[in-house]
Symmetry: C2
DNA sequence: ATGAAAGCGCTAACAG
DNA sequence: CTGTTAGCGCTTTCAT
């Protein structure tokens, strides 16, 4: 086993083994058409024999493509954690990119330091593209990305940049509308809402869906804002109960916040769903763990993720990349 | 704004602007000692002026270091999702590595295809090191990693390779012991356990902690095995109840499984904690969302993550990298 | 269809 | 302390 110290084979070794020139090996490796069948088979055999793997650095140096794309997470840590979107996206992205021999570099831009690092990375040309996750409207990073001239797509719309940054997303507005209509159908008369931060699509679009159904019945006092955390949902519910003690339903913009709302309702002695119906959003793991289990809106996460990556790849190939919005499903459980 | 088409500056441009040679610029950039102060300041100014950022590919080509490390996730998708460990580790790792101008590449090795991709990646020399997350004993990937000769560390011990692969981990055995002792102190007499898969440290070590306290009272029929999912926890609890209907406490090796156990107990008409006390492990988000909230064991995740990365960096620098085990905390809530 | 050769931007060894 | 120079492994003209 003296192969420990053996250097990794280069394209030169392959060329020698195959009895052709380095140029020809390169052509085979890159799928160029003008290669004879005999040369191609010889090269392929030589590659297998030598165990050759291309040196990416060398390739990058001449092609000035890095073969990697950055996934930028703009989420404060706590939420990231809970976001089902994220892990699905990650899995789908690594898999799809791997098929193209590209890799996924992860960066977290939750604070200024993080943003600066991402900006430097992008300016340094270290990635061929960027995949934005849960980027808020007006995030300063957006400018940096544009300045760096790196192709970018988003998973979930970036509010205010919908026409600039292609995105794939679940139909937040439609999902919220479906949930609200369902609550109305159940005979609920006084329906409140706990929203997410309004600079995220899940914050503002779900609210839009809600108000579009209820019209002027969705008065200002019926709406409180949360921060997507469980504690935030609990606090928001308490505020809502204080202002509108007689409400009989609440639509909460995320399951995690809904879990918090459930706790607040319980503490206030309200029964769910008898006194107050609770509707969530996401259909995340926690939805089936609460008591009662949450009636919620399921997003087609895997599909959204796939579409997002597809868009980025299209962009890299300079093809069209039009936004994609995918339908949601209402999942009825015990809470409404 | 005609700077759109301007090429990125190279070390050559910087050298010219600073009035020194490329060699000197390189020396400054790499912190070599033998550079005059005047040369250094000139170079630094030139770097700032030109907006120079090093071309990693070129650097890699000559140093044969890639500046990136792979984080390998060997977890089937469902769990990944729920694993609090993971997101903390990711954040800590990206941050710490960024300080060293290194980046984190993510790969998922949940199935054969994924493993093969990781192996190829490593064999290709695309990463300077590997950070293993929740790798199971006997994972075929382990051999590949050794063959590729890539320095690797694990977050959580890799069973059977404790002496080969440095790791940082929470004290699973100690945490389990603490929880078991607590249940005993509460006067519980008939304590069951739902374990995780025994080829993971969380599976076997927590079980060891449990049996080390209970001795022969931890009979075979008191122990059932789960798979870290909520549904698995529920099923395991049902099995346990069928075999040992009179048990008055159960220690569940993860909060998610404990949430499932809670459902099974509820369905069986058992009150928690009056009839049956339930202890979890992890102190993940779900622990405070269940009803009653879970009494559980908190792991110092951030610290574990930091130590893991520190170990990897030590390994890259060819320094000592001894395993680190960090203490856990018992968190008492409503379920026990 | 293929070989030869010119770099891509950088580091490191060498000479001074 | 600093400039010069030889590649690192690959792609891509340019000839042939």
């Amino acid at each position: 086993m003296s192969n420990l110290a053996r250097k990794r084979p280069t394209i030169h070794d392959v060329a020698e083994a195959a009895g052709v020139s380095r140029g020809t090996v390169s052509r085979v490796l890159n799928g160029k058409s003008n290669v004879s069948l005999s040369a191609e088979t010889a090269v392929r055999r030589a590659v297998a024999e030598t165990g050759y793997v291309v040196n990416r650095a060398a390739r990058s140096l001449v092609t000035s493509r890095t073969g990697s794309i950055v996934m930028v997470l703009s989420e404060p840590q706590e939420r990231l954690f809970e976001d089902p979107n994220f892990s699905v996206l990650m899995r789908v992205a690594t898999n799809q990119l791997a098929d193209l021999d590209m890799s996924l570099v992860l960066m977290i831009a939750g604070d200024d330091g993080g943003r600066e690092r991402v900006a430097r990375y992008l300016r340094g040309g270290h990635a061929d593209g960027a995949l934005l996750v849960s980027t808020h409207a007006g995030d300063p990073l957006l400018e940096e990305i544009e300045r760096a001239g790196v192709p970018a797509v988003a998973c979930g719309a970036v509010l205010g940049r919908e026409s600039v940054i292609p995105y794939a997303a679940a139909d937040d507005r439609g999902g919220a509308r479906a949930m609200t209509e369902y609550l109305v159908q159940q005979g609920r008369k006084k329906i409140g809402m706990i929203t997410g931060p309004l600079d995220t699509p899940g914050g503002s679009l779900r609210l839009e869906g809600f108000t579009s159904v209820l019209g002027r019945k969705a008065g200002k006092q019926m709406i409180v804002h949360g921060d997507y955390t469980q504690a935030g949902g609990e606090a928001a519910m308490e505020r809502l109960l204080a202002t509108v003690p007689d409400l009989d339903a609440v639509f909460v913009a995320s399951d995690l916040m809904a879990a918090g709302a459930l706790q607040a309702l319980h503490a206030a002695g309200r029964r769910v769903p008898e006194d107050v119906a609770v509707g969530g959003f996401d259909d995340s793991a926690i939805a089936s763990a609460t008591r009662p289990a949450l009636t919620t809106v399921r997003q087609p996460l895997a599909q959204v993720a796939e579409e997002t990556v597809r868009l980025l790849i299209a962009l890299l190939d300079e093809r069209e990349a039009d936004p994609v919005v995918l339908p949601t499903d209402l999942v009825v459980r015990g809470s409404a």
